[in-house]
Chain length 151, copies 2
């Protein structure tokens, strides 16, 4: 696991990121890898937002993981900034390799650098393996995550 | 409930918002209403961030509720934007009045106007009244919310 690096995503990474988003029991129904236009538009919005960190893990020119970190300023907790981790995906060939741990550790360290007091994320209630993974990394399952689809 | 309005918060609203954040079983330990400096700095960051909507509900010049809505662009779900509701507070004198429902409905409508496909929030596992409230509004408790404190 020593020979990969985590870097900011570029527009050239979009197809690899979308392929990973789609290669997932929940993601397969939600993505359209053959239609790049909406992904390119969203990437441009992400890329110019200073509160966003969309990153990829790359080894030997292959994209093997991705994660999105959002910094959220707020008044609560004495004007604290928190961060939210979304869209964590590991390439199918790399699962179980420790890369997921390294990506989350990167997100936690980046959150510390930015002065966040808290890192948070939600995980679908059916992803029980993911829950154990986050608890091993020190996260506490202290909250209930509610979602309301608008479409 | 017809005589209040929901509007964007201004710097003058900070003391009232902080008082509501502190008047809460969990918030009382986390806030310092007598020290406005960190709240003012955080307000400035929020106020200039186009993805942030910090609002107050006001009636007869009294601030009776607050909510923070964050728009989060992303690649997943075909480049969808989602929104996150945080820091919902209702003044103690107004609880049970339906104002909470109106604030959440405002956040959902604002999310629709901004093209979001999903509204999400997390609620502390101990706030069971809040869970029933969100479920009545159509939210599904489909996720587990994980938090990692950094301080």
């Amino acid at each position: 696991m020593s020979d990969f690096r985590i870097r900011r995503a570029t527009a050239d990474d979009i197809p690899d990121i979308v392929a990973m988003l789609a290669d997932d029991p929940l993601g397969a129904r939600r993505e359209s890898p053959d239609d790049p236009a909406p992904y390119r538009a969203a990437f441009e919005t992400l890329d110019r937002d200073p509160k966003q960190r969309l990153v990829v893990a790359v080894r030997d020119g292959r994209t093997i993981g991705t994660l999105q970190l959002t910094l959220i300023p707020g008044l609560s907790r004495r004007g604290a900034t928190r961060s939210i981790i979304e869209a964590v995906r590991i390439h199918a060939d790399e699962r179980g390799s420790g890369l997921g741990t390294r990506l989350i550790e990167w997100a936690v360290e980046e959150s510390r650098r930015e002065g966040c007091v808290l890192v948070q994320l939600t995980s679908d209630a059916t992803r029980t393996d993911a829950h154990r993974f986050y608890e091993r990394l020190g996260f506490e399952a202290s909250h209930v995550g509610f979602k309301l689809p608008l479409v």
